[in-house]
């Protein structure tokens, strides 16, 4: 009897061990956007096929950054896969906080859009795989430009953009010429403002990483931004970011909107036309570049399984899986990631913005140059940038609301940025 009981116990233990050995569980921290929400559903097929169960932790962008940063920095291994952006990927890769990603030949690494791939790499090694990428572009109401007798061209001059905004501006009928980000935040108003500054020939830092916010280019750019949005934007623009403007646009209240290309897939009004971002002639360009990507923290005990999942979730097969999924379809496939997606006739048929988005991403210039001695278009890929960006963002919002003059806001920004960079030991 004792032998039978011992054997049964041993068999149960062995069975339990076998189950625990096979049952890999991945915990994935994701930003809450449409593509990632869809992925949770599409990935049910992955679990069915591989037996790997997936725990999704959806977080708001700011909280995600906070949690993922503290987890990765403390080597906690709380998550097996994390969503990070272009600002973090090269820095964390260089610091050894995330694993390098090397996938098999079937992954077709060369299919990843070069600008996106470069932005997620450090010294040629990719540390995060993109699941969606974006640039910025002009989205405008063709009916209003036609009625006003104005045109908006690709890479238009800012003067023409201002003229078009003035022509469409009709607040008595609830239509505002230009809707732009004004809400303070390094990823909010500063994303747009930085592209304007770039196009006027300005940059965040000089070659020695001293802030250059007190230069003439910044002053010209911010005066233009405050003038454009103050005169032809909706009231209370200092509280508007992506979501607020999206709601305004879909209510038909915006003549034009210059923002992330992903916005095009959320627009429900008819007659939207697209153009490449305006420029004041600077080769750095005025369209930003961003990607949300998946990375494996160095502390993850399931690194191999995590990499295998990322390989699937950012592959061409995944794009097909979303396109053919009964709940989603080709209008929901992740964009700004792979060149092959834009060549798919099914995708082209439903995405009127595809060509404009692809052109915007391809023309973005995140690399460091003499004009802009750091990586990144609408941000600088240095750890201190979020702190600098937030400080300046508050000043820009104050200038927009009229609480401060542009000159005073720029002086305060320069002083704050200088203190942060100096304290960080750059000079």
């Amino acid at each position: 009897m004792k032998t039978i009981r011992t054997s049964a116990l041993a068999a149960t233990a062995a069975f339990g061990l076998a189950i625990s050995a096979n049952a890999t569980e991945l915990t994935i921290a994701i930003v809450n956007n449409g593509h990632m929400i869809n992925m949770q559903k599409v990935a049910e097929a992955y679990t069915a096929e591989t037996g790997v169960s997936l725990n999704w932790v959806a977080l708001e962008e700011g909280v995600l950054r906070e949690q993922v940063t503290s987890d990765t920095a403390t080597g906690g291994g709380q998550y097996d896969i994390i969503n990070i952006g272009m600002q973090e990927a090269p820095i964390w890769g260089a610091a050894g906080w995330i694993e390098p990603l090397n996938f098999g030949s079937s992954y077709d690494m060369d299919d990843i859009l070069p600008a996106i791939r470069a932005g997620l790499s450090h010294e040629g090694t990719m540390y995060a795989a993109p699941f969606y990428g974006e640039s910025s572009m002009v989205m405008y109401r063709k009916d209003l430009t036609d009625a006003a007798g104005v045109t908006i061209r690709d890479s238009d001059s800012w003067a023409n953009i201002k003229g078009a905004a003035a022509a469409m501006h009709n607040p008595d009928n609830g239509v505002y010429g230009a809707c732009l980000r004004g809400k303070p935040g390094w990823g909010d108003n500063m994303a747009f403002i930085t592209t304007v500054v770039n196009s006027f020939g300005g940059a965040w830092f000089a070659a020695d990483m001293r802030p250059t916010i007190d230069t003439a280019a910044w002053e010209e750019a911010i005066n233009f931004y405050v003038d454009l949005l103050g005169n032809y934007g909706p009231p209370g623009s200092e509280g508007n970011s992506f979501n607020e403007i999206l709601a305004l646009y879909n209510e038909g209240k915006c003549g034009m909107w210059i923002d992330a290309t992903i916005a095009a897939s959320f627009l429900t009004v008819d007659g939207v036309a697209y153009a490449q971002s305006p420029n004041a002639g600077n080769p750095v360009g005025a369209n930003w570049l961003w990607a949300w990507a998946m990375a494996v923290p160095a502390g993850s005990p399931n690194a191999d399984a995590a990499k295998a999942f990322i390989e699937w979730a950012t592959s061409k097969d995944y794009v097909q899986a979303v396109g053919n999924h009964p709940d989603f379809g080709w209008g929901s496939v992740p964009t700004g990631q792979r060149a092959s997606t834009y060549a798919l006739p099914e995708f082209q048929a439903v995405a009127g913005f595809a060509a404009a988005e692809m052109a915007a991403i391809e023309s973005a210039a995140p690399a460091a140059t003499d004009l802009k001695p750091y990586v990144g278009v609408q941000f600088a890929a240095i750890p201190e940038f979020p702190e600098v960006g937030i400080a300046v963002a508050q000043e820009m919002a104050a200038a927009l609301s009229g609480a401060k003059s542009v000159k005073d806001a720029l002086a305060a920004s320069q002083s704050a940025a200088d203190a942060i960079m100096s304290e960080a030991g750059y000079y």
Partner: protein, 278 residues
């Protein structure tokens, strides 16, 4: 005489109107949230469907089927209940000691306890994360959340109980002592029955604070101990308008508290206004 009548009529009309106006202003966001929860995400932002729309349960079904709502709800119930119980377990004797056996440092201790509420939570985020995850191994456990919620609410609970206990005449306690009642007997048989209303309202408020806490419950959990606050947080999106979905999750999260508050409003008001007018 005319002036008295006019004043009386004015008071009869003015104060109820003011009270109703304030009540409507405070209630309106909740009403709007509930209304939006029955709209699709697309309808939620369309002005033409502001009031008149086709109601749908889509958001609620989605929440239950795809977001594991019951796991979050269960964690909220467990952590809030146990944290409230633990806070009272520690808070009642502490408040008793300070109310009936004060020393010359009692006032300083009370002020010091309250001052801990002035520490910005973000200032200790990194040490808390590091300590609980890398050293104590308590990250994402019910135990950790219960302890954290208890410690957050302990100063308020002790202050409230201290105020209630101070209202009990000392003579009653002294009479009990003369009859040979033990300290535990004093608390159980004299203080608690006399301060029952205050204790109930303190417990209620503590439970509500625990349920609504959204800084640490979001940041010190991943899966196992994640509460409804984390579910709400996960439905906020910087790029995309998911107001219908977010409203459904928020409605489901605040629903139990609103119902609880409705049934216990008398105790809550008593608890919040106690000692305000003397």
């Amino acid at each position: 005489m005319v002036a008295v009548v006019n004043k009386s009529t004015f008071s009869k009309v003015f104060w109820p109107v003011l009270a109703w106006t304030v009540a409507i202003v405070f209630f309106f966001p909740i009403f709007w949230m509930v209304l939006t929860s029955f709209k699709t995400d697309a309808d939620a932002v369309k002005p033409e469907y502001l009031i008149v729309f086709t109601p749908t349960l889509e958001n609620y079904l989605n929440m239950i089927e795809n977001y594991d709502f019951w796991r979050f709800a269960k964690n909220s119930v467990i952590t809030s209940l146990f944290a409230t119980a633990f806070t009272l377990f520690v808070g009642v004797p502490a408040a008793y000691a300070m109310a009936f056996n004060p020393s010359r440092h009692t006032k300083d201790i009370l002020i010091w306890m309250l001052s801990t509420k002035m520490l910005p939570a973000a200032a200790v985020l990194y040490p808390m994360t590091f300590l609980t995850k890398n050293i104590l191994g308590l990250f994402d456990t019910h135990f950790l959340i219960i302890i954290v919620l208890s410690l957050i609410n302990l100063p308020i609970v002790i202050w409230m109980l201290f105020t209630y206990f101070k209202e009990i005449p000392k003579e009653i306690i002294e009479a009990g002592k003369m009859d040979g009642v033990s300290i535990w007997g004093e608390i159980k048989d004299i203080v608690l029955p006399l301060a029952w209303g205050g204790l109930a309202s303190t417990a209620l408020l503590c439970f509500i604070f625990c349920w609504n806490e959204a800084y640490w419950t979001v940041r010190l959990t991943t899966i196992d101990a994640a509460t409804l606050s984390k579910l709400i947080e996960g439905n906020r999106a910087p790029e995309g308008l998911f107001f219908g979905r977010l409203s459904a999750v928020s409605t489901a999260a605040v629903g139990p508290i609103v119902v609880l508050g409705w049934f216990c409003q008398k105790q809550l008001v008593q608890g919040l206004t106690f000692g305000a007018v003397k």
